[in-house]
């Protein structure tokens, strides 16, 4: 019985450490779609067009901002953050991907002492062919916060132009270095969309306040080649 128990224990330990380490290294850091690819990088979520030659734009908590009246502060400071991963989260995402075909990236970032918010969880989900929803859930949002600015920083060689008036979605079109239209960034009718060509950013600003969750979402539509 002792040998049997010992063997069973060794087997369970072997299986457990193998499965946990495999899931820990599971490539759950990318969403693949014919029109785009979203990938977690060291300090951002990068979005590519159909070509993987270079990223077209990025989303980071260092660009996103919390506004008190009209004064904005970045959610976190660059180089002062910690990324959290979870075995159960990886297991869940892999299971969803395998069994339900649902593509999701979760990026949990905890800010340092100088951050405006404690934690931000970015949830990037593919919500249809060529479309992603980026949801930010924030912890310890300052009570005086009136709006959340969701910023997309597009690449140095890219350009953003106003969508043609015929396009009912409005917003801005991001073109890559070669002039290909990569994505259309727009916001809900209640939000403000700001383009800053000098900063290479597009900001969708949504109001938050009492009775509203500390969460904001935006959808980005990619141009299918």
């Amino acid at each position: 019985l002792f040998r049997k128990s010992l063997a069973a224990l060794a087997m369970l330990i072997t299986v457990a450490i193998t499965v946990v380490t495999a899931f820990d290294r599971m490539p759950t850091d990318a969403i693949l779609d014919p029109a785009f690819r979203a990938r977690l990088e060291n300090d951002s979520i990068a979005f590519f067009g159909p070509n993987l030659t270079s990223a077209a734009f990025w989303i980071t908590p260092f660009d996103d901002a919390a506004y008190s009246s009209s004064v904005g502060a970045p959610l976190m400071l660059r180089n002062d953050f910690t990324v959290h991963t979870s075995f159960l989260g990886e297991l869940l995402i892999t299971g969803q991907r395998l069994l339900l075909g649902r593509d999701t990236i979760v990026w949990h970032v905890e800010g340092g002492a100088g951050s405006t918010v404690g934690d931000v969880i970015y949830l990037v989900s593919r919500v249809g062919q060529g479309r992603v929803r980026v949801t930010r859930t924030m912890d310890q949002l300052p009570t005086a916060t009136t709006a959340i600015g969701q910023v997309i920083r597009y690449c140095d060689d890219c350009v953003a132009v106003a969508a043609p008036q015929s396009d009912s979605r409005g917003g801005f079109v991001i073109q890559d270095a070669g002039g290909r239209e990569i994505a259309i960034v727009s916001g809900p009718s209640t939000s403000d969309v700001h383009l800053s060509p000098s900063e290479h950013t597009i900001e969708v600003r949504n109001a938050v306040g009492p009775g509203r969750p500390d969460r904001s979402s935006q959808e980005i539509e990619f141009v299918t080649p």
Binding site: A7, A10, M11, I13, A22, M26, P27, T94, L98
Partner: protein, 604 residues
């Protein structure tokens, strides 16, 4: 698709059935048949070069059909007379289970986003390019003399002759055939692993465990065992089957000679080590050598070899050749160790240790030798020299066997139900490791919904070229476009993915140049390295692909390197399209073909 399925089976069956005319034993027959076809292709190529080169394919086809008809007829007559060989029920069940499970894994997981005839192995393109040359009657013992896609002769052209044969017999292009060949290879490796373990350990359950581990352990870097058919993986497969055959069926030693020849011709380095391993198992038949090979010093020596190999990392690392890419394949010990945990899972360390302990305590000389070879192969593969990871093609089978022994050692006190439950648990564990490993390998290849080195648009362009390109045309583009289009179309290029430094510099000099006349002149200076290709040169076809423009954005030193390539397809963007329009409008180039990823222009 169906014809290519059978054509791919012909890769194994044509030499096998040819050899069966002379020899009854299957493996020996396959080896003899392979060598006979190598000789026949040389003879017919020589004959037709003196008379009419266009007769080469017809003569090969006639010979193959005649030989196959006689062989199949004899086989049927023999089967009616003597009956089919009897197979025990557990072995039959295990074999069918492995085929079913392997097929489900292969189609359900591995190539679920790699439709026919897309490819995920970069090396397959150069093998296809060489075999395509052989189908037209160009043959030499040295690959580099048949196609300048090869710059190094680390094997003979035997593999490519076997690849060309079904192409000629079934009149098929090789890209689609190769898609199926990888599947056949995968299933055969599982069956070989089963047979190998059964021969050495005499237990169907342990052999089944070894084969299951074999199906789920993919050496996804350099070695590419088990999911890709290459000369090195085929050499390892043949060697392992030879060991199983020698041990289980007690095949006479002299029958091993043609098999060893084939293994060696398939890949000189892997083949040499494989031959040494096969011979060491044959030497077990000699009582005095048996004692020597399974003695404690040999066992201890393999452990010392492993320690030495790991210790050498502290002293430095050495590229085996002067090839520039060799430097990039010098991996530190930590990286190699990480690769091992990614291929087999971190728990494999425990299973390997338990398995090795179990085997060392066994009274079986075969198990002692197997363990010593396993340790020695790992030592060899882990040493700080480039390319040595290739030895995992052989080590794969030995490691799977030791791991299966480890599983057996842990489950030997369990009830039958407990054993089955444990096996199920282990299978799930290795399945998770495999899923992680294969996803990680394929993800960078994703492009427009497919995971492949070549896109459907490139396959279509290859089809168009094979039908419309004038005979003697030379393709010119970046290395990766040349690699995929030469394989997909059969149209020659200078060097394929291994284009010469001169060609690279010509391409670099014309990057985005709007002096279209000078661009055309520079392109016409590009020459194939092989004289017979230069003599038949007619048109120059300049292929401007998304890959080409992406490659042109590399820094100069990367453009001049074999190591840096555009590994996945790329769409042309409006800027690229504008440049192509400029070339066409200059009248120095004629537009022949265009799609979303490339344009083919003839240099006027």
């Amino acid at each position: 698709v169906i014809i290519d399925f059978f054509a791919a089976a012909g890769f194994y069956l044509i030499p096998l059935l040819t050899g069966r005319l002379l020899i009854r034993r299957w493996l020996e027959a396959w080896a003899v048949g392979s060598l006979l076809w190598l000789a026949a292709v040389f003879a017919i190529a020589e004959l037709t070069s003196l008379t009419n080169p266009h007769l080469f394919g017809d003569l090969i086809l006639s010979l193959a059909v005649t030989v196959l008809a006689i062989s199949i007829g004899r086989l049927v007559a023999f089967a009616r007379r003597a009956g089919w060989p009897e197979v025990s029920r557990p072995t039959l069940f295990a074999t069918l289970f492995l085929i079913a499970f392997g097929s489900a894994l292969y189609f359900g997981l591995w190539i679920r986003s790699t439709a026919y005839p897309l490819q995920m192995n970069w090396d397959s393109f150069e093998h296809i390019a060489l075999a395509t040359q052989i189908t037209t009657g160009h043959i030499s013992f040295f690959p580099s003399q048949v196609s300048d896609t090869f710059t190094f002769n680390s094997y003979s052209t035997l593999f490519h002759v076997l690849l060309a044969l079904p192409g000629i017999v079934f009149h098929r292009r090789l890209l689609g055939m190769y898609w199926w060949l990888n599947y056949w290879h995968y299933i055969l490796t599982a069956l070989a692993c089963f047979w190998f373990a059964k021969a050495l350990l005499k237990s169907t359950l342990v052999a089944l465990s070894a084969a299951l581990v074999g199906l789920l352990a993919f050496e996804s870097f350099v070695a590419y065992e088990t999911l890709f058919l290459t000369p090195q993986t085929l050499a390892a497969l043949a060697a392992v089957v030879a060991i199983a055959s020698a041990t289980l069926l007690e095949t006479p030693s002299r029958s091993m000679f043609p098999i060893l020849c084939v293994v060696l011709l398939m890949h000189y380095i892997v083949g040499l080590v494989a031959c040494a391993i096969v011979i060491s198992f044959l030497l077990l038949r000699v009582a005095t050598l048996r004692r020597l090979l399974t003695s404690s010093p040999v066992q201890g020596g393999s452990v010392c070899l492993l320690a030495l190999s790991l210790g050498l990392h502290a002293l430095g690392a050495w590229p085996l050749t002067s090839r520039e890419e060799a430097v990039h394949l010098l991996l530190p010990l930590a990286t190699k160790a990480q690769l091992l945990t990614e291929w087999y899972g971190i728990g494999a360390i425990i299973l390997f240790a338990v398995g090795a302990w179990q085997m060392s305590r066994s009274r079986s000389d075969v198990q002692h030798l197997t363990l010593a070879i396993s340790m020695s192969l790992i030592a060899l593969a882990m040493a700080p020299l480039s390319y040595l990871l290739k030895f995992f093609t052989l080590a794969h089978y030995f490691i799977c066997l030791v791991l299966a022994c480890g599983i057996y050692a842990l489950t030997q006190w369990f009830s039958r139900r407990g054993v089955l439950l444990s096996l199920g648990l282990m299978t799930v564990m290795f399945l998770v490791v495999f899923y992680r490993n294969e996803t990680y390998f394929k993800e960078p290849l994703y492009f427009l919904g497919s995971e492949s080195n070549i896109s459907p648009a490139e396959v279509q362009a290859g089809d168009w070229l094979s039908k419309n390109a004038p005979s003697g045309s030379l393709l010119v583009s970046d290395p990766s476009t040349q690699a995929v289009l030469e394989a997909a179309s059969g149209v020659n290029s200078q060097g394929g993915p291994y284009m010469s430094l001169e060609t690279r510099r010509v391409l670099e000099s014309i990057n985005r140049s709007d002096d279209y006349g000078a661009v055309a002149e520079r392109l016409l200076t590009i020459q194939d390295n092989l004289a017979f290709e230069r003599q038949v040169r007619t048109d120059t076809l300049f292929v401007l692909s998304g890959r080409y423009f992406a490659w042109q954005q590399f820094p100069s030193e990367q453009k001049e390197s074999f190591y840096y390539n555009i590994w996945q397809p790329v769409l042309l963007d409006p800027g690229d399209q504008g440049y192509i329009n400029g070339l066409v409008d200059s009248h120095k180039f004629n537009l022949l073909y265009r799609n979303s990823e490339l344009a083919i222009l003839r240099v006027s």
